[in-house]
């Protein structure tokens, strides 16, 4: 059990949740979060939005019953958290990198940009975000980006100069990641995607989050959530 430091509502039903404590995570990994309630029986997998010395921050969207229960949580409430789980985006990337996020898929990319800035000093990092409407958090992506482009209400994939990049990390709607993969294949770009699936155990045992890849069934929670784009699409 841990305590909630804050749970701030933003526009479009987004929330920023900070849970107090000392945590470690690699970029792209997730934690399992649960507020004890008979109506929120399973943990929710949430990728790390940011890590601070005294807590971990998640960006989530209120959609169903579970996230509605989470959204009602206040500072000081107890919450259960375990992890981190899953693999991570590669740390040894070379050349120029684009991070592309759509909707809640932007959640892991802030921590990714922070880590890349630290570990890939010679790379430039360009961030492309697609959102429904203007919000409060996207400006903070400027902290670690050499360029930030946000599109509201359209298709962010229309604004990416693909030929500039050696590597692309993407997370968002399937259609978005699929479009990027098409370009990546044409231009020989290393493309990594982070997938989202409903989960139960989160550790690789129950097989409810299986996805189909070119190399057979894989567990999003354990073999992923990060996969090579070419193995998925």
């Amino acid at each position: 059990m841990a305590l909630i430091e804050y749970n701030k509502p933003l526009k479009s039903n987004f929330y920023l949740l900070k849970i107090s404590g000392k945590y470690e995570a690699k970029m792209g990994q997730f934690f399992m979060i649960r507020k004890d309630s008979q109506f929120m029986f399973l943990n929710r997998p949430m990728s790390v939005y940011d890590l601070e010395n005294d807590g971990v921050i998640f960006l989530y969207k209120k959609i169903g019953k579970g996230t509605t229960i989470l959204a009602d949580c206040k500072k000081g409430d107890e919450i259960s958290i375990h992890g981190p789980y899953g693999n991570n985006f590669p740390m040894d990337v070379k050349g120029d990198i684009a991070l592309v996020g759509g909707g809640t898929g932007i959640a892991p990319l802030f921590y990714v940009s922070k880590q890349l800035k630290k570990y890939c000093k010679n790379s430039t990092i360009h961030i492309f975000l697609g959102l429904q409407e203007k919000n409060k958090f996207e400006a903070s992506f400027n902290n670690y980006a050499d360029l930030l482009q946000v599109n509201y209400g359209g298709f962010i994939t229309d604004y990416i100069p693909y030929e500039k990049y050696n590597t692309i990390f993407s997370c968002g709607p399937e259609l978005m990641m699929k479009k990027i993969e098409k370009q990546a294949r044409k231009l020989n770009i290393d493309h990594y995607v982070s997938l989202e699936k409903r989960m139960a155990c989160g550790v690789g045992a129950c097989l409810v989050c299986t996805c189909q890849t070119k190399n057979g069934n894989k567990r999003v929670c354990k073999d992923g959530p990060v996969f090579r784009g070419k193995d998925i699409f």
């Binding site: 550790v203 129950c206 069934n217």
Partner: protein, 302 residues
């Protein structure tokens, strides 16, 4: 080992009556990264079939109040690959390892059980109760005739203890349990998940491609407990209780109702270390209630 929780199940000495249920614990590897699973009494493998299965399409999990539904559809590597890649790990653990075997027809059940019983395994759990195998198909364990047939034929070919896992959807679960005993089953485990249904009201469509899915978790516990109580009184072979157990109090209820051991399933998803916690809490319970061994409470509530 304190001795408080030791218990024999058939000829197997268990450190404690806590066993991890099929399909919720893989083959043990993932949870072994999280805690020392050798504290457990045992683990049951993910359900295996003669040939590999890639499992069901579409959504595989759906949350309910105090429970969940799953439609994994027995995704597994098949018995041969399991024996080669996973069984050595299970055998290396200092705990009871039980191999769960499933099938869609009699021949596959018999072949898979024959193969696994030639290996060094502690027990086979014959799964005649998975609701997720084929759309509109009835599990073997629902009808008396198919139950009798599969237990009889499997019993002929296996050399290791055979435990049969019953379905709560059985026409008459007491009758089914008796048939298993008559046909030579060495033990009974119950219950598997309930066949259940969920609808997406916005799209006016069913949630699961396979239509129905298996319901588990605390929401089924009182029914599971009633079934264990009924069955344990009616058969002489030992019973393993399963169904919505999340803490040591639940374990005690199942034991008092007549189960000689229990399986923990869905609770692993809520807290991956639940097994370790339950074992510690059980020990404390026995100490504070001055009970020298857990077997003293088995079946004490008539």
């Amino acid at each position: 080992m304190s001795g408080l929780l030791d218990i024999n199940f058939l000829e197997i000495n268990l450190k404690n009556p806590i066993i991890m249920a099929s399909g919720t614990f893989g083959f043990g590897r993932e949870y072994a990264e999280i805690y020392d699973i050798q504290k457990l009494g045992g683990i049951v493998s993910k359900g295996l079939t003669l040939n590999p299965r890639s499992g069901n399409q579409g959504i595989r999990v759906w949350e309910t109040s105090s429970g969940m539904m799953n439609s994994v559809g027995l995704e597994n590597p098949g018995i041969q690959t399991f024996i080669k890649n996973e069984l050595p790990f299970m055998q290396s653990l200092d705990l009871a390892h039980i191999i769960n075997i499933s099938g869609t027809n009699l021949e596959d059940y018999v072949k898979a059980c024959y193969k696994i019983s030639r290996e060094k395994v502690d027990m086979i759990e014959l799964n005649i109760s998975c609701p997720n195998v084929q759309e509109n198909s009835v599990p073997f364990g629902v009808k008396e005739t198919t139950t009798r047939e599969v237990v009889k034929e499997v019993k002929k070919v296996v050399k290791v203890p055979l435990m049969v896992k019953l379905s709560p959807d059985a026409d008459d679960i007491i009758r089914i349990a008796r048939i298993c005993e008559e046909e030579g089953a060495d033990a009974i485990s119950l219950i598997n998940t309930f066949k259940a249904f969920a609808i997406n009201i916005n799209e006016k469509k069913k949630i699961f491609e396979n239509t129905y899915a298996g319901l588990s978790g605390p929401c089924i516990k009182p029914i599971a407990l009633r079934m264990v109580h009924e069955v344990a009184k009616q058969v002489k072979i030992p019973v393993m209780g399963i169904g919505g157990i999340v803490d040591y109090q639940d374990v005690l209820e199942f034991l008092m109702a007549g189960a000689r051991a229990v399986q923990i399933g869905t609770a692993n998803f809520i807290n991956p270390k639940v097994g370790e916690i339950i074992i510690k809490d059980l020990e404390n319970y026995l100490i504070s209630n001055d009970i020298s061994n857990i077997s003293e409470i088995i079946g004490i509530v008539n």
